[in-house]
Symmetry: C2
Subunit: 211 residues, 2 copies
DNA sequence: GGGTTGAATGTGACTTTATCACTGAAGTCC
DNA sequence: GGACTTCAGTGATAAAGTCACATTCAACCC
């Protein structure tokens, strides 16, 4: 059955009550969980699949902020839920995602009655802040070529990645042309093989991999 | 007396107990509240002055992430307090700062017993996430010249700012030389007057001010 | 199969930003 | 009034972003 570790820490009664009022939902790839400007309906606890959270600036450019996977909590929703402000970012399903939607009332109740639940929420917040701080540093100071290599290495596993240059540009927060040129250069150095919508990683050194 | 709005929402007993166990502290400009790698001792509630939070990346460059002022809560500390992880950033006092330090036990108790306190904490978290998301967008996509102009406008109030080019570079997350050149260009256009450690803002248009 | 279409990719030219390596200028401290 | 330190200016070059357009590929339709 649908489970999320933050619910495991609840006592029997509370868990039963919660599971009773929670909606289990399923989303296909490409589905948009929420987008900028929308208001939050409930707190999603991710129990499977993968969801990317990205934002589009006034400039019209987009950048991926972070990802959610199994056992994650949608941190952004918490703030929107409690303050009533709309989302500033957008969440897009990458791999068939399943989530438990916790309605506002239940969330309040859990925060009130379970220290373990509170800890889980706080941890999630802390992790997100950390993610974003690292991202700021990355975007502000690190070179695009090394970031690109690291990104490829991190998700190719010696194999290949199915992605367009445009999507990759959004991952890194840069322009498509920049990605195209850097990839071409990597191809010249026999580190990748390019084809339409797909990148085969052949000779990137593990040594350059950091996160 | 020392007051923080998040404590105002507590009931009489809880507030008395809290104020009893809280340490009021004072910090002069330049003082470092905490630095990267340190462990968190308690949650600071800022009740006066101004503190900037900045981080230094592996590259050795620094960037200012956000500021705290009256009635702010040091969001970063919450995560470090609850998870036991060390700080990743550094907090430096800019204007004589006063804060109430809430020890861990009291924090846990407040989270447990006051819905209003919880809401305050969550709001603070939400604001911080927002700040950082905006910063990411800013750093990734916006032009340095407009960011510089906006920064000057936001804190000059038609007067002048006491700051070195190096410090300004850290504010914007760029290199000192870049700031120097952009400022020189602004001077040529009669929009600022430069002197050692000080920038007089004379003719920047309000129209370019956002945030 | 040949043609049409739209998305994906390649690239030149140019601007902006970052980096490196200096030089000079302005304050501070004996 | 030097000696030192911090701050600021600048040329040369590299990296990254922008704009405009050319090319290529895959899919779809007769």
């Amino acid at each position: 059955m649908a489970r999320h570790s933050i619910l495991d820490s609840l006592n029997e009664t509370l868990r039963k009550e919660t599971l009773d009022k929670v909606r289990a939902m399923q989303f296909p790839p490409g589905q948009i969980l929420f987008s900028a400007g929308q208001h939050c309906q409930g707190l999603p606890l991710v129990i499977g699949g993968r969801v990317k959270v990205q934002m589009t600036g006034i400039s019209g450019h987009s950048i991926v902020l972070y990802r959610m996977g199994v056992d994650d909590i949608c941190t952004l929703s918490i703030g929107c839920l409690m303050t009533g402000r709309p989302y500033r970012a957008e969440a897009v399903v990458e791999e068939d995602a399943r989530a438990l939607m916790i309605p506002r009332g239940v969330f309040d109740r859990l925060m009130d009655q379970s220290a373990a639940f509170r800890l889980g929420i706080m941890e999630s917040y802390g992790r997100r802040l950390d993610d974003l701080m690292l991202l700021v540093e990355e975007v502000a100071f690190r070179r695009m070529d090394t970031r690109l290599e690291e990104w490829l290495l991190a998700r190719a596993n010696g194999g290949s990645v199915v992605i367009t240059h445009q999507e990759l540009a959004v991952e890194l927060g840069t322009a498509r042309e920049v990605v195209s040129r850097l990839l071409k250069e990597l191809e010249r150095r026999d580190m990748v093989k390019l084809s339409r919508g797909k990148i085969q990683v052949t000779g990137l050194l593990e040594s350059s991999a950091q996160l």
